[in-house]
Amino acid sequence: MGGFIFRRVLSMLLVIWVVSTMTFFLMKAIPGGPFTAEKQLPPEILRNLERRYRLGDPLWKQYRDYLHNLLRLDLGPSFKYEDLTVNDIIRQGFPVSAELGVLALLFALAVGVPSGLISALRQYSFSDYFSMLWALLGVSIPSFLLATLFIYLFGLRLHVLPAGGWGTPAHLLLPAVALGMYPTGFIARLTRSSMLEVIRQDYVRTARAKGLAEITVTYRHALKNAVIPVVTYLGPITAAVLTGSFVVERIFAIPGLGRHFVTSIYNRDYTVIMGTTVFYSVFLVAMNLVVDVAYGFIDPRIRFD
C-alpha cells in the first residue's frame, strides 16, 4: 500500500503543477489587472504599484517566482486587501466554510442514505416516490433560490432564525441545509440505485437462504457494498463543500472562503486566484486519494499491491 500511496502522491503533484500553471497563464491573459480602475491611476503611481508587487517583471520570471514561493507554502500578499496575505485569507475563511460544509455533509448523509435505503427496500411504494421526489427537487433547485427562500421565510416572515450573518449556532442552520440539499438528493438517488442492484446479487440471496435475519442481510451484507458509490462521490463533494460555496456564502453573508473563488477573479487579485485554486486542487486530489484508500477497507475486491 505504501508504494501505491507514493505513486499517487507523485501524480497528485503533477496534477497540481498542471492546474497552477494553466491557471497562472489563463489569469494573466484576462484583460485588465488588479489596478485597473475607473479613476485611472497616474502612470507614475501605477509604475510604483507594479514595482511593489513585481508585476513589471517578465511573465516567465513571475511564474518562476510564484512556483518558488508556492514550494515554500508562501502564497503571497493579496492585491486587494492591504493587510492580508493569501495564507491569512485561507486561514480565516477556510475554518468558517469547513464548519458549514461539515454540517451540510452530515445533513446530506443523515438524510440521503436512509432515504435512499428506504426507497430501495420499498421500491415503487409511496415512501419511494415521496423521497425520490424530494431527492429530485434537492438536485434540481439551485441553491441561490433555496437560500433566498429560507432567508425570506425563516428570517423575515417567521422570524425564528437570523437572516444571514455569522457568529452563533443559529446562524449555521439555514445555510447548512441550503448547502446540503444538493448532496442530499444526490446521495439518496445514488444509495437507492446502488442498493437496488446489490439486493439482487447472489450473495444477498445466499445470506437470506442461510436464514440470516433480514436486518443483518440489509445492513451487514447489502448496505456495506451499496455505499461504495456514495463513498466515491463523497471525495469530490467534500472538497467542494468544505472549501465553501460562493452563492450560499454571499446570500447568507458568511465570511467563508467560497466567495474568494469568484471575487478574486473580478478583482484580478492574482495571488488570491492562484492561492484559492491551488488550495482547492490540493484538497480535491487529497480527498480522491482518501477515497481510493478507503476502497481497500470497504471493498473486498480491491487490494493495493
Binding site: P31, E44, D83, G164, T168, A170, G256
Partner: protein, 528 residues
C-alpha cells in the same frame, strides 16, 4: 444517525443565544457598508465603504458639519497668504486614542508618507497640489524635504502649494490628508489592520474587525470633542448581497444600509425607509470622437437630444435622479452659489425634433446611410435596461440603429482606456466640491478623456482656473468652458446621480458627503 442529527440541530437552535434578534440598545448603530474594507490606512484607502469608517476613526485639519459646511477639525484656525500659495494651520491640543498629542509633525509625516513612491498609494495625486508633491511621488526629485509641508513647531503646520488652489480647504477633510500617528506607524506600518494595534484621532476607535464579517467601533474618550458624540457604539456589517441586507433591515437586525436593491426602491420610498441623498455625480454616454460619424458635433448633439431623460429617471432608475441638462451636476456650492444654478440649463433634456433636424443637417435624414454603431456598457442589469431604452429612442426618433455590447467591469475599463468603442456608458462622482473635478477630465491628453475630444479654447479656459485664487474669475472661466463642452457634446449627459441609502426613522442626525460616504459622526438613536 438520522434522529441524532435532528436532535443536535434542534439543540443548537435552542441553545443559541438569540443575540441576532435583540433590538438595538440605546445609542448603538448597526450599519451595513456592503463589503469588507481593503484597508483602513487613510493614505492607502480608495473606496467609499472604507471612507465611511475612516471618517469616524480619524480627523483631518478640517471636517464637514451635518449641513456639509467646512468647519475646523484638528486645525483650530488657519491663514492663507495673499497669493493663495502658503497656508498656515494652527492645531488644537488634541490627542490620539493612545493618549499622545496630535502634533503638526504627524501631519507632515502622514502627507510625506502618502507621497512616498515606495508606499505606492493610489490616491497620492490628492497631494499633488503641494509644492513638489508630484515631483517627489513620481521620482523626479528624491529629496523629501522639498515637499511643501513642514511642521514649524508642534502646533503649527505650514503648507506651500504648487499653484493657487481655493478648494484646498475642502481637500483637507479628504482621507488621504488625514494625520497618522508617527511613532506608532514607524514601529508598525500595519497598525491600522488590527484593533489591538489601532491608533486614531477621530471620534471613534476600532474595537473589533472580523474579516468579511464585521467591524465594531466605540466612542473614543480621548477625542477632543467627545462630548458632542452621542453614539456609544457602531457595528458595521459587510453584507454584499443587497437583498440579504434588506431582509436583515426589515427583520430589525440592521438600522441602516449603504446599499439598496434597485428593484425595491419604489416600495421603500413609500415606507420612508429609502432616502435619496445628494450626490455630485453624472451618468453619461461617452462618444468616441475619432470614429465617423461621431467626429461631427451635429451627430453627437442629435444623439444626445434624442434621449428621453425623464423617461429614464422616472421608469428605470426611479430613485429620485434628475434628468441632466448640462454636464456639471448640482451640489457644487462655491461662495454660496450653486454652480449648476448659476450656469442654468445648457441643453434640452429631450428634443426629438431638434435631434432629427441636426442629424439631417449632418447628412443623415431619417437616419439614412447612418452606420450601425455599438453601445458599450459594463455588465449590469441597470446599464442594460438604460442602453435598451436609448437604443429604442434612437431608432424611433432618428431612425438610427445601434448594437449593444456588455463586458465584465475590468475588461470594459480596459476597452474604454484603449479607445476601442463607439459609444460607452460611463459615470463620474466628483472628488471634491469644485467644477474642476468634472471639467479637467476632458482637457486634451487627460487619461479620463477616452473619447479623445480636443478643443483648444476649452483647454485654455480650464488651465486659466489654476492660475488664480479669485473664485469669481475661476467660476466665470468654468462656466464658459462648460458652455463650449455642452455645445460640442463629446458626451451625452443622461442624469445626475443621487446617493441611495436606507435607514430607520429612529436614526437621527445622519448626513452624507455628496462626494462620498454617509457621515455617521453626529448620529443618535431616538424614539426606538
Amino acid at each position: 444517525m438520522h434522529r441524532l442529527v435532528v436532535v443536535a440541530l434542534v439543540m443548537t437552535m435552542a441553545l443559541a443565544p438569540a443575540t441576532w434578534a435583540q433590538p438595538s440598545a440605546s445609542q448603538v448603530l448597526r450599519w451595513n457598508v456592503g463589503t469588507d474594507f481593503e484597508t483602513l490606512d487613510p493614505a492607502k484607502s480608495t473606496g467609499i465603504p472604507e471612507a465611511t469608517v475612516i471618517y469616524l476613526l480619524y480627523e483631518g485639519l478640517t471636517q464637514r458639519d451635518p449641513q456639509g459646511r467646512l468647519v475646523p477639525g484638528m486645525a483650530e484656525r488657519w491663514d492663507v497668504s495673499k497669493d493663495g500659495l502658503t497656508w498656515t494651520f494652527y492645531l488644537r491640543a488634541a490627542k490620539w486614542s493612545n493618549g499622545q498629542l496630535v502634533s503638526a509633525g504627524d501631519f507632515e509625516f502622514a502627507w510625506k508618507r502618502a507621497l512616498d513612491p515606495a508606499l505606492a498609494a493610489d490616491y497620492a495625486y490628492q497631494l499633488y497640489y503641494l509644492k513638489n508633491g508630484k515631483a517627489y511621488n513620481t521620482g523626479r526629485i528624491k529629496d523629501v524635504s522639498q515637499v511643501g509641508v513642514i511642521a514649524k513647531d508642534a502646533r503649527t503646520l505650514v503648507v506651500t502649494l504648487e499653484s493657487p488652489t481655493p478648494f484646498f480647504g475642502d481637500l483637507l477633510s479628504f482621507h488621504t490628508l488625514m494625520p497618522v500617528p508617527k511613532t506608532v506607524v514607524t514601529g508598525n506600518p500595519a497598525w491600522a489592520g488590527k484593533p489591538e494595534t489601532f491608533v486614531g484621532n477621530g471620534p471613534f476607535v476600532m474595537k473589533e474587525w472580523t474579516r468579511q464579517n464585521r467591524v465594531v467601533l466605540e466612542r473614543n474618550p480621548n477625542y477632543w470633542d467627545a462630548k458632542s458624540i452621542k453614539l456609544q457604539r457602531i457595528e458595521f456589517s459587510m453584507i454584499e448581497a443587497e437583498s440579504t441586507a434588506l431582509v436583515q433591515y426589515e427583520a430589525g437586525q440592521l438600522d441602516g444600509s449603504s446599499n439598496v436593491p434597485v428593484a425595491d426602491i419604489p416600495r421603500l420610498l413609500k415606507t420612508g425607509d429609502f432616502k435619496a441623498m445628494p450626490y455630485i455625480g453624472t451618468y453619461y454616454y461617452l462618444f468616441n470622437t475619432t470614429h465617423k460619424p461621431l467626429d461631427d458635433a451635429r451627430v453627437r448633439r442629435a444623439l444626445a437630444f434624442a434621449i428621453n431623460r425623464t423617461l429614464i429617471t422616472a421608469r428605470i432608475t426611479r430613485a429620485g435622479e434628475k434628468p441632466a441638462n448640462a454636464f456639471v451636476p448640482s451640489g457644487i456650492v462655491v461662495n454660496g452659489t450653486d454652480f449648476r444654478q448659476a450656469g442654468g440649463p445648457l441643453m434640452p433634456v429631450y428634443d426629438p425634433a431638434l435631434a432629427k433636424k441636426l442629424l439631417a443637417e449632418a447628412g443623415y435624414p431619417n437616419g439614412e446611410g447612418f452606420p450601425t454603431l455599438t453601445i458599450l456598457y459594463n455588465t449590469s442589469q441597470r446599464h442594460k435596461t438604460i442602453a435598451e431604452a436609448i437604443q429604442e429612442m434612437w431608432r424611433q426618433n432618428l431612425g438610427v440603429k445601434v448594437n449593444l455590447t456588455n463586458q465584465e467591469w475590468k475588461v470594459y475599463l480596459q476597452t474604454r482606456s484603449q479607445h476601442n468603442f463607439d459609444i460607452a456608458r460611463a459615470g463620474w462622482i466628483g472628488d471634491y466640491r469644485d467644477p474642476k473635478t468634472f471639467l479637467d477630465m476632458f482637457i486634451t491628453g487627460s487619461s479620463f478623456n477616452e473619447g479623445l475630444w480636443s478643443n483648444k479654447a476649452y483647454d485654455r479656459l480650464v488651465d486659466a482656473t489654476t492660475k488664480t485664487a479669485d473664485q469669481a474669475v475661476r467660476m466665470k472661466a468654468f462656466h464658459e468652458a462648460e458652455k463650449i463642452f455642452v455645445q460640442d457634446m463629446p458626451l451625452a449627459p443622461i442624469y445626475f446621480y443621487v446617493q441611495p441609502i436606507l435607514y430607520k426613522n429612529y436614526v437621527q442626525g445622519l448626513a452624507t458627503d455628496p462626494t462620498g460616504p454617509p457621515l455617521l459622526r453626529n448620529v443618535w438613536i431616538e424614539g426606538h
